[in-house]
Subunit: 339 residues, 2 copies
């Protein structure tokens, strides 16, 4: 194989692995949003028939995985690997989804960048021949996140203007060596960037510089520019983070225009749904990618997509200890055609 | 590149990436144990000069990484990727170590299997040409684990006979395309196994079946047997888990003999140091591998090592919700020679 490495932090997939199938699951609020009809399964019950919100998260992952496998006409034992992770402490949403399935499993922690990280690693593994078929899977849940990161829901705390709303949702994609696509062409791995934001209710501002750095590296490493993509989406920067990324590129004389969007802004009607700066969580970019975006790619409405997962790598404890918020962004180029 | 996939869940590295350098850091109790002289850095201060135990964990990772890079005569900007993770909620030990270093970073969560998972992914990336040099790094800290998973230290809770002692330690290894070795030959990715153990103070019993399953798959997929290795080590099963793995193989008519050992048993004098079943934590197998074991391989005292990271994928919350403990084991073959 030709050396895949490009520039500072990118690489190309010479075999362009295919997304064989994908599926998305979302909660009630997401179903009521602008992308509501694009999710494969939605539920009015925020517990998805389970006893706890954490088990609901596992249930959403199971549903997304099962549906994606059905669509690819694959059995679980035909997966050579799964790349999974979520926001719950010790990533238990994913581990409990994958237990006793006999699927070789790599656990990831990339916070809300997990859909991009898992896609990237699945594509790397398939492209290099380590796996024939690999699963990328993640989720988040508003209620499990709220009580883990912020306040008990019953407390009814006031949300600040920069706050985001954790998406209840999951996304699954099955990657294989051959197929009709869309295809994964290349990836840019993010470095961890911390610009000193200490407000855990302003994660958009904390993540925006990481998104900017990874996008810059991507364009430089692969000698592309924004015009080479029909759509560039970040994961969950929300309205403020989105504006910061646009402003950072403006400063460089690069106009991203409407070619650039953010899943956290797309998934909710920000005013009507009272979600302040927009959606967040692993499930945000996962359910938008594995629903709306990949559906539009299959319909050839989007030819080339630069999908950028963004994650804030804080914990409640680091905030209590006075720390600022490190963030990361991973980017993957997805194309309707093989090149 | 030839298809790397083998059997059910293994693959081979046709270019056999080299471990360019490695380093280990450990705490005072570990320094007083049987492997005390093998750690590169130890500290009497359990906070490693920091204000909190969590920051101490980041500090240990920094020290291990810096030392490994120095030994490989590499600057940070010569790393194309880092594969990092730890036990702290949201893996903050690792994210805070890697922030603002300009090193493309993949966050992992494999609980105590992280050293094997990170080594495996680093070798996969280097072997396939995605990276020229990659870092594998992890840590754990007795005090940060104890308060996160169990009780505040000041509470002075009584430990049960099957309890293990989380190792305060870190390990780092730099993987490259060329070098004098040791070399990474192949890997077996574990599936998540849950045999129904619900006692969070008996993680050895929870993890032993996962270790058995991965070892069985490894021998089957790669057509090897225990005699093909000078040493087989599991990460942190402790005395009880170690005995269970031996018993499971005995049942199959396979005698592992003294060829099989466990890092959790090796790192402490179980009786003298009052650690009950032995050591645990990501830092256990990481500091034993990146100290004692790789040193012995460099000295040709061990020719072929099967290194098996073992992880219990529970959280305090899943235990509170009455759940049993899923576990995983990843195995990597490390050889003093290139084949």
């Amino acid at each position: 194989m030709e050396a895949a490495h490009r520039g500072k932090q990118s690489f190309v997939f010479d075999e362009a692995p295919a997304i064989l199938s994908f599926a998305s699951v979302a909660g009630r609020k997401e179903a009521e949003g602008p992308l509501g009809t694009s999710f494969d399964r939605t539920a009015k019950d925020t517990k998805f028939g389970q006893k706890t919100w954490e088990k609901a998260e596992t249930q959403m992952q199971k549903t997304a995985m099962t549906l994606a496998l059905q669509r690819a006409k694959l059995r679980e034992d035909q997966l050579d690997a799964a790349f999974v992770g979520d926001l719950l402490n010790q990533c238990v949403g994913s581990s409990f989804c994958m237990r006793d399935r006999d699927i070789p499993t790599f656990g990831l922690y990339g916070a809300c960048s997990t859909m991009a990280e898992s896609l990237m690693l699945a594509a790397m593994s398939v492209n290099a021949g380590y796996c024939r078929r690999a699963l990328a899977l993640t989720s988040s849940h508003f209620a499990s996140s709220e009580r883990q990161y912020r306040f008990p829901l019953a407390y009814g705390g006031q949300r600040t203007p920069t706050a985001q709303w954790t998406v209840t949702g999951a996304g699954a994609a099955v990657i294989g060596q051959k197929g009709d696509g869309p295809f994964l062409l290349n990836a840019t791995v993010g470095s961890i960037v911390d610009m000193g934001i200490r407000d855990a209710a302003n994660m958009g501002a904390a993540m925006a510089p990481a998104a900017y750095e990874t996008l810059r590296a991507h364009f430089d490493d692969l000698r592309t520019s924004p015009e080479d993509y029909d759509l560039i989406v970040t994961g969950d920067l929300g309205k403020l983070g989105y504006q910061i990324v646009k402003a950072l590129f403006d400063r460089d004389g690069v106009k991203l225009e409407d070619r650039y969007q953010d899943c956290g802004v797309m998934i909710f009607d920000l005013e009507r749904q009272d979600v302040h700066c927009g959606g967040s969580g692993c499930g945000c970019s996962a359910s938008v990618l594995c629903g709306h975006l990949l559906q539009r790619m299959r319909q050839r409405e989007i030819g080339k997509l630069l999908f950028c997962g963004t994650g804030a790598l804080l914990s409640p404890l680091t905030t209590q200890q006075g720390e600022s918020i490190p963030a990361v962004c991973h980017a993957v180029t997805i194309s309707a055609e093989r090149s």
